[in-house]
């Protein structure tokens, strides 16, 4: 068990800096998900924590100890790779036992731990097989088993579910979550899938272009996104963004001249509102021209544009609604559900 501290972590490859100072404290037993679009530096950050990449500057501490210069083997971590990275020439049993043998653990103890892990993960029947004789989901379990038999103080996962089909992904997601809660081991999980991130993480670290955009609980990220990026990244369908101009009286004016209650500021702002927070209202401040309607059963998605502009808008209504395409509708949203961001920096205006 251990907490992890990232202190101003920086990584460059030659002249290109890919991580620009990452900070974060991860508590003992916490499940933290690092999420962000492809190429934002998630894997690089995880591999720096694992010791597979050198740290250009800054510090990584595990359990209160600076580990920058420790070999991966000495950091008391276990990692699950995206392609599982099982040893192809070893049986499932040997794959799991390998790390224990190297650490000189007694045969009987190895056997006990491997069997226990195999039971938890329901792979007891395959212990004698080679990895190539397993399905993707089974390999995934073996990779997990290899991590848990080591009884490390930190688990690191690099997109371990991305090679599985959708159904299995959801199932494994739940299993990983349950397993982590049961073992109580501090875990860092990398993914680019925001749904996976929201469901798994106690807290999410949203990375974008090598910067941490926000680090907080899923609900904090949803209710109080600190940047336009986080606002657009968390939630599905994504938040609507409307360019607007702030006026002296604390309201903002949309491009089509409509006025919406806003924040006390001046200049151009970005107004954000989630599709599920828009409700039909006769005097609603958002006039939307409906272009297309998607009936999903449980809810209805309305795609359209803000009247008089070409700003695309999506509205999500619960239940089924018979709305004709081409219609014009008015929607409103509670003031506290409107988000305002600085149009140039993308930072939240409170």
């Amino acid at each position: 068990m251990a907490n992890i501290k990232l202190d101003n972590l920086l990584k460059s490859y030659g002249d290109t800096e890919v991580l620009h100072g990452v900070n974060g404290d991860i508590n003992d037993g916490e499940f933290v998900v690092i999420v962000g679009p492809s190429g934002c530096g998630k894997s690089t950050l995880l591999r720096m924590i694992a010791g597979l990449e050198t740290v250009t500057s800054g510090e990584v501490s595990i359990g209160g100890k600076m580990v920058n210069n420790l070999e991966p083997a000495d950091r008391d971590i276990a990692m699950v790779f995206q392609n599982y990275a099982l040893y192809p020439h070893m049986s499932v049993y040997d794959n799991m036992a390998y790390g224990l043998k190297i650490r000189g653990i007694a045969k009987s103890e190895i056997k006990r731990r491997v069997n226990e892990a195999a039971e938890i993960l329901e792979i007891g029947d395959y212990l004698k097989r080679k990895p190539r004789a397993l399905s993707g989901g089974q390999r995934q379990r073996v990779a997990m088993g290899r991590a848990i038999v080591r009884e490390p103080s930190v688990f690191l996962f690099d997109e371990p579910l991305s090679n599985l089909d959708a159904k299995l992904r959801v199932q494994m997601r739940l299993e990983i979550r349950k397993l982590q809660k049961r073992l109580g081991v501090t875990s860092i999980f990398v993914t680019h899938d925001q749904v996976e991130a929201m469901t798994l993480g106690d807290r999410l670290m949203v990375l974008n272009g090598g910067y941490v955009e926000q680090f907080g609980t899923p609900i904090e990220l949803y209710e109080n996104p600190q940047t336009v990026f986080v606002a657009g990244f968390i939630g599905s369908p994504a938040m609507n963004f409307i360019p607007a101009t702030a006026r002296d009286d604390g309201t903002v004016e949309l491009q089509n001249g409509d006025v919406v209650p806003g924040v006390a500021t001046t200049g151009t702002v970005t107004l954000g509102v989630r599709p599920e927070h828009l409700v039909p209202h006769d005097k609603g401040m958002f006039q939307i021209k409906v272009l297309m309607r998607e009936q999903l059963g449980a809810n209805t998605l309305i795609h359209g544009v803000l009247k008089g502009t070409d700003t695309e808008m999506v509205v999500s209504l619960a239940g089924t609604h018979d709305i004709s395409e081409g219609a014009e509708m008015r929607f409103s949203a509670a003031k506290k559900l409107l988000h305002f961001f600085d149009a140039t920096t993308g930072k939240r205006l409170s």
Binding site: A50, G51, L52, E71, P72, A73, I77, A78, M79, F81, Q82, N83, A85, L86, Y87, P88, H89, Y98, G99, I102, R103, K130, R146, R150
Partner: protein, 293 residues
């Protein structure tokens, strides 16, 4: 009625394969059949009379202790060459696999020896180890080692083994490097996280995973040491001193063109031919076989 697709008869395909067929016929099939025919004849040293003797040449050969000696020597030599050159290659490939910067330069330099003709490679080593002029024998003298491969049998053997192995390192290196690079990096990283140091990783992960390449190279190197080392032996020791480096392929030449025993020499080359065919079959079986790990 079915319509058949008709290709106009053309001589072009035949024309295109003709050079290869002619080369095979002139430089392989014809001399090989000549050798087989010759191996059944006994010719006097002046070439005045020949006598057809069926398998007498082979019978004489198998009863000749010198032939058996040469056979064992060849096995020895091949084993040593294969072990030395593959050992060197695997170490170099192991390092090259880790190198990121300057890897191209390093690899190119390592491939050069392969482009050197065997006789030249031999000449190079002769110069370096020349008992009176050679730079290495000069240094060896500093360590109290009296180097003279013209007189010392084991030194002579050592030198041809080194020269032959050196030339083959590049070839083995290429195969080993390719094999090592085909191992997913994450597997090695997983082992590192599991606590295996570089040597442990090599022996427990890399080496087992490249074993198909090792099998393949063992055959290739044995064939090389058996047949392609003539030039090196000829340049370095000419089979001496006292026949101590007279391996089978050199003995064919020596008995035939120096000793003028054409029938016996032809019989030896037929045996070598059978050996190379056997090894090739083994090699194909390994290549075809599904790799088991």
């Amino acid at each position: 009625m079915l319509k058949r697709v008709h290709f106009p008869t053309s001589y072009l395909p035949y024309l295109l394969v003709a050079p290869q067929i002619i080369i095979t016929l002139v430089f392989f099939i014809w001399p090989a059949s000549q050798a087989m025919y010759q191996s059944l004849l006994i010719e006097d040293a002046f070439g005045l009379s020949t006598e057809f003797v069926w398998f007498e040449n082979f019978q004489v050969l198998f009863e000749d202790p010198k032939y058996l000696e040469s056979f064992i020597r060849t096995m020895w030599f091949s084993g040593a060459v294969a072990l030395l050159s593959m050992g060197m290659a695997i170490i170099l490939a192991g390092f090259a696999d880790r190198v990121i910067r300057g890897a191209m330069v390093y690899r190119t330099l390592l491939i050069w020896p392969y482009a050197v003709a065997p006789v030249l490679a031999g000449a190079l080593w002769v110069f370096m180890f020349n008992p009176t002029l050679g730079i290495i024998s000069y240094f060896l003298e500093g360590f109290g080692i009296d180097w003279n491969h013209y007189l010392n049998k084991s030194q002579a053997m050592g030198l041809v083994i080194m020269a032959a192995a050196w030339k083959q390192v590049a070839y083995n290196f290429l195969f080993y490097l390719a094999a090592m690079q085909s191992i997913p990096k994450s597997v090695i990283e997983a082992a590192a996280i599991d606590g295996a140091g570089p040597l442990k990783r090599f022996w427990t992960i890399v080496f087992p995973l490249i074993s198909p390449t090792t099998f393949f190279l063992i055959v290739i190197n044995a064939v090389y040491a058996f047949f392609d080392t003539f030039g090196i032996i000829h340049a370095v020791t000419q089979g001496g001193p006292a026949g101590s480096t007279n391996i089978l392929v050199y003995k064919v030449y020596n008995d035939g063109f120096v000793g003028l025993d054409l029938g016996g020499s032809a019989a030896q080359s037929v045996i070598l031919m059978i050996l190379v065919i056997a090894m090739t079959v083994v090699q194909f079986r390994f290549v075809e076989r599904k790799v088991e790990y």
